[in-house]
């Protein structure tokens, strides 16, 4: 299959030490903290109260507007509905559940053996009810992506897993191949797409072989080996790579007839439809220099980070915890921070490997410009951010930044490029919001 050229990108040592550790079932802890912010949009509204008994799979949070419902990962008692640390670093309303160790299931909808036997709306509804969101990290409600704005001819399954260290998607592709086939057939049917492209990075030859073998004879499905270049998994990069189609500035994939779903999401869709199982657990990689071994677990949503560390064995000198990969992951202050739907990895970093924050000077080498997949000028954006020139930064394309971090990674001057660009983005968003309120209030007066 023909691959297309995409600008920028970097080769990073992949550190996929966990690639050969099979997924292990992780026993949920005694207390779980289920955040009510597990999707793009506003926090869900809790539908359980303190002291209430819940069963596994029972809905405990209803979305307000855009979003997806949230379910209890275990059976037990709600100890508290309160503010708790979230992987984003903020406090969010959460439901704290004491695990009774019984795992009594709530009523589940009946499974669908053949997804093409039901109407697409049924699939969409079931995916929504099961609380499925994009598990690649974006946590965008999957059911919304099943009702695209335009016709979709190509469904792309993102198995690139380009972040170093992370291996959970890799293991899912190896161990849950049949589930994935069911999942993408359902998605393809619901979208009316003509073909399915499964994009896997070249550094996972076993997954590619397994998928190829499992899909032989499927004329509308193709396993595509994409180069192991970061950020291969970024939606725009992937679409461009396998179809050559370009997105409009901040446009949606459906505008170019594409839809991208992460393999973990496809698995969640399959379980929701075939088994009627809501999204209450996911595959998570635990790795980094601060743990004894790199491993992959099935983790109940709401499990605190410390519980995962206990199971791989920690070293004394862990100084940093990262939710996600080393490029885009969030550094958190405490190991009480729970796994949420978008958590694909937990990295524990030993003292010596913590990257110090530096504010070097720009040497004008142009490397950041060379590696930026969007074609931005990170050195320029960073300089504008330092000067507080938010409007200029917006005009220079700051809002187009994926936040992939390639520029920071590559910069020999060790400038904090991405942090500065994020700062600018935050300020631009704030100004936009302020402008909206202003126009609304003035409208009210008039």
């Amino acid at each position: 299959m023909r691959l297309y050229k995409v600008r920028g990108g970097i080769a990073i040592p992949d550190h996929k030490e966990g690639a050969h550790s099979p997924l292990e079932e992780l026993t949920p802890p005694a207390v779980l903290t289920v955040s009510l912010l597990q999707h793009r949009g506003a926090s869900a509204r809790p539908v359980v109260k303190r002291g209430e008994l819940v069963r596994r799979g029972q809905c405990i949070g209803e979305p307000v507007g855009l979003g997806a419902p949230i379910h209890s990962p275990v059976s037990g008692k709600v100890i508290e509905v309160a503010s708790r640390l979230h992987p984003s670093g903020f406090y969010c309303e959460s439901v704290v559940i004491e695990n009774d160790g019984e795992y009594v299931d709530a009523d589940r909808p009946e499974g669908i053996a053949d997804p093409t036997s039901v109407k697409p709306e049924v699939i969409r509804r079931r995916v929504h009810e099961a609380g499925v969101v994009g598990l690649g990290g974006a946590m965008f409600p999957t059911s919304v992506k099943l009702a695209p704005e335009g016709p979709v001819d190509t469904l792309i399954i993102n198995g690139s897993e380009c972040e170093p260290y992370l291996t959970c998607d890799h293991r899912v592709m190896l161990e849950c191949t049949e589930d994935l086939i069911y999942g993408w057939q359902a998605l393809r049917y619901a979208l009316g797409a003509k073909r399915v492209l499964i994009a896997v990075e070249a550094n996972k030859p076993d997954a590619i072989a397994k998928l190829k073998q499992a899909t032989t004879g499927m004329s509308d499905v193709e396993v595509v080996t994409v180069p192991a270049v970061y950020p291969q998994g970024a939606e725009d990069v992937l679409i461009r790579r396998v179809t050559g189609r370009r997105l409009r500035a901040r446009g949606l994939p459906a505008e170019v007839g594409c839809m991208v779903h992460n393999v973990a999401t496809v698995l969640a869709v399959a379980r929701a439809l075939r088994d009627g199982e809501p999204l209450i657990k996911r595959a998570v990689t635990v790795a980094g220099s601060g743990v004894q071994r790199a491993a992959n677990f099935w983790v109940a949503i709401g499990t605190p980070a410390g519980h995962l560390l206990d199971h791989v064995g920690r070293r004394d000198d862990i100084r940093q915890l990262i939710f996600g990969g080393p490029m885009m992951g969030q550094s958190v202050s405490s190991e009480d921070v729970p796994v949420i739907k978008g958590t694909n990895g937990l990295l524990a970093i030993a003292e010596d490997d913590v990257l110090e924050f530096t504010t070097g000077v720009c040497l004008r080498c142009g490397w950041c410009l060379d590696v930026c997949p969007v074609g931005l000028e990170p050195y320029h954006l960073a300089r504008l951010a330092e000067a507080g020139e938010w409007h200029e930064a917006e005009a220079a394309g700051a809002m187009l930044c994926y936040e992939c971090g390639s520029c920071s990674y590559r910069c020999p001057g060790r400038r904090p490029l991405l942090p500065l660009i994020k700062l600018a983005k935050g300020e631009i968003l704030r100004e936009q919001a302020a402008a909206r309120t202003r126009s609304q209030t003035s409208g009210g007066v008039a």
Binding site: A30, Y103, R248, G329, D336, L355, L369, L400, K422
Partner: protein, 519 residues
């Protein structure tokens, strides 16, 4: 499955707080000092080559420039209230070493120290330090020194033996058989402009480490080769001399003073190549690389503006515009490549004829000295002539076809540059018939007296076996002894060499050399 109690035990006691850092949490490992270290490593071959060639004369220049630059950096950091640890970024050392490689060997130590200081202080720190300077600091210092001390900065010595000599670009314009000597660097010149091989090793190392972008050296060297081929200069000689290799791989590629984008770097390199050749071919200054690079440094902000990348996710309309722009660029590239090739082929076909014409014209010119001559005939004596006598030598014939004279051009070194002399000998090669000064760069009013016909008349009918010693059998010029001596020695040495090369037996005056029409 039962609930694990593992984390319960962990919730007890003091909770550990982890460090918060912004993403990304890993880095490529590159840093200013690592990059500067690589540049220093890449300069090691050229440094060693210069010390082998020029011995202590080179070593002293290198040490003095390094000391000057690092001391300058330390002083500036102190005055600017910056942490002195910034010296560890090695950028001052790189500047010092690069400056050393642009200096003539055996330059006085104080000049080198001053150069290092100027490079760092005026070239870099006044603009705000590393990353903020618009011009290459080493070249700023070099130009400063060349303008301030023109005589010291053009004092060349020959490799190995250290005798005074001239630099190649001022002497000749083609490699001839001496190509390998240039490649290895066995000729006079700046420390780092001599050994092409050593510079290439360093350049390839930097390219392999991806520290410099191949677009800059490739476009500079390509442009110089094409321009010199089109205008009839020896491309290999143009590439291998005058510090072009040093400039293309180590000066023009300086990150801070070259464009950000890859396309911009291509433009930048082409600009440097063009300017270098313009200065070399039509300017008064044989070595144009430094000025060319500095000039393009000044244009870098403009190039950056012109070549700003367009974000990938443009609207459809923008994509179309971009495509048409690409098409224009491709068309322009193809057109210029094709016209370049045509010009090169045309020149290749024409050059023998052009050369013949030129020789005929020169032969005609000599007839001024021999008013009775009927024809002249060039003789190719390439290998038999010393460096400073131009090939071919012309045999001047009378109506009967008898040889009545010998004429040639020689370029002895004068006080400030070469003096180009046309010399006529009689048919037997025993006497000088006439001497004319065709070109010189001697001091106006003093050295320039050598051009006066009254002064030159003394050479007419002078036997070449004379001593040609100033004040003895040749008149001197007060205040211009060097110029006058250069002419006297130049006439004597060249006349004897030409007569010997022509194998004229003074007894019977018959030439055994085979006349040819030149190459």
């Amino acid at each position: 499955m039962a609930a694990s109690t593992g984390s319960l035990s962990n919730t007890e006691g003091e909770k550990k707080r982890y460090l918060l850092r912004p993403a990304p949490h890993i880095h490529s490992g590159q840093s200013v000092s690592a990059v500067m270290g690589s540049v220093l490593i890449s300069l090691v071959p050229a440094t060693i080559a210069s010390v082998i060639l020029f011995r202590w004369g080179a070593a002293q220049v290198i040490i003095a420039c390094l000391v000057g630059a690092v001391a300058g950096e330390a002083l500036c950091l102190r005055f600017r209230g910056r942490p002195p640890s910034q010296i560890k970024d090695l950028s001052a050392a790189v500047t010092g070493l690069l400056l050393a490689l642009t200096m003539p060997p055996a330059t006085p130590i104080w000049v080198c120290l001053l150069g290092g200081l100027v490079a760092v202080a005026l070239g870099k720190q006044v603009f705000g330090g590393l990353g903020a300077n618009p011009f290459n600091p080493a070249l700023v210092a070099r130009v400063f020194l060349v303008i301030s001390f023109p005589e010291i900065m053009t004092r060349w010595i020959a490799p190995f033996d250290g005798t005074a000599t001239a630099t190649p670009l001022a002497v000749s314009s083609s490699l001839g058989q001496a190509g390998w000597r240039y490649f290895l660097g066995i000729h006079a010149g700046c420390l780092g402009e001599t050994s092409v091989l050593a510079l290439l090793i360093g350049g390839v190392y930097l390219l392999a480490r991806r520290i410099i972008d191949w677009r800059i050296p490739a476009s500079i060297l390509g442009t110089v080769a094409v321009v010199s081929a089109v205008f009839g200069a020896d491309p290999l000689f143009q590439l291998w001399s005058g510090g072009l290799m040093l400039g293309a791989f180590f000066m023009a590629t300086d990150w801070v003073t070259s464009p950000y984008s890859r396309l911009g770097r291509l433009y930048f390199g082409i600009g440097v190549g063009l300017l270098t050749m313009i200065i070399r071919l039509w300017g008064g200054y044989p070595e144009g690389v430094s000025f060319a690079i500095l000039f393009m440094n000044a244009l870098t902000p403009l190039i950056n503006l012109m070549t700003r990348p367009k974000p990938q996710m443009e609207s459809v309309r923008q994509v179309k515009e971009r495509a048409s722009l690409t098409r224009i660029l491709v068309t322009m590239g193809v057109v210029s490549a094709v016209s370049g090739i045509i010009l090169a082929i045309f020149y290749g076909a024409m050059s023998p004829r052009i050369e013949k014409r030129r020789q005929q014209e020169m032969g005609e010119g000599f007839r001024v000295m021999f008013p009775d001559a009927a024809s002249s005939e060039p003789v190719d004596l390439e290998e038999r002539l010393p460096n400073r006598v131009n090939n071919p030598v012309f045999l001047v014939k009378d109506k009967e076809g008898e040889r009545m004279g010998i004429a040639y051009v020689t370029t002895p070194a004068g006080f400030q540059g070469d003096i180009t002399l046309a010399v006529g000998l009689d048919g037997d090669g025993k006497h000088v018939v006439a001497v004319q000064v065709l070109a010189h760069t001697e001091t106006a009013g003093l050295g320039s007296k050598i051009t006066e016909p009254d002064y030159l008349r003394q050479y007419e009918r002078k036997p070449i076996s004379d001593e040609f010693v100033l004040g003895k059998d040749v008149d001197g010029i007060s205040g211009a002894t060097v110029s006058a001596t250069a002419v006297a020695d130049g006439v004597r040495d060249s006349a004897r060499a030409v007569v010997e090369a022509l194998d004229i037996n003074p007894a019977d005056g018959v030439s055994e050399a085979t006349p040819s029409n030149g190459r």
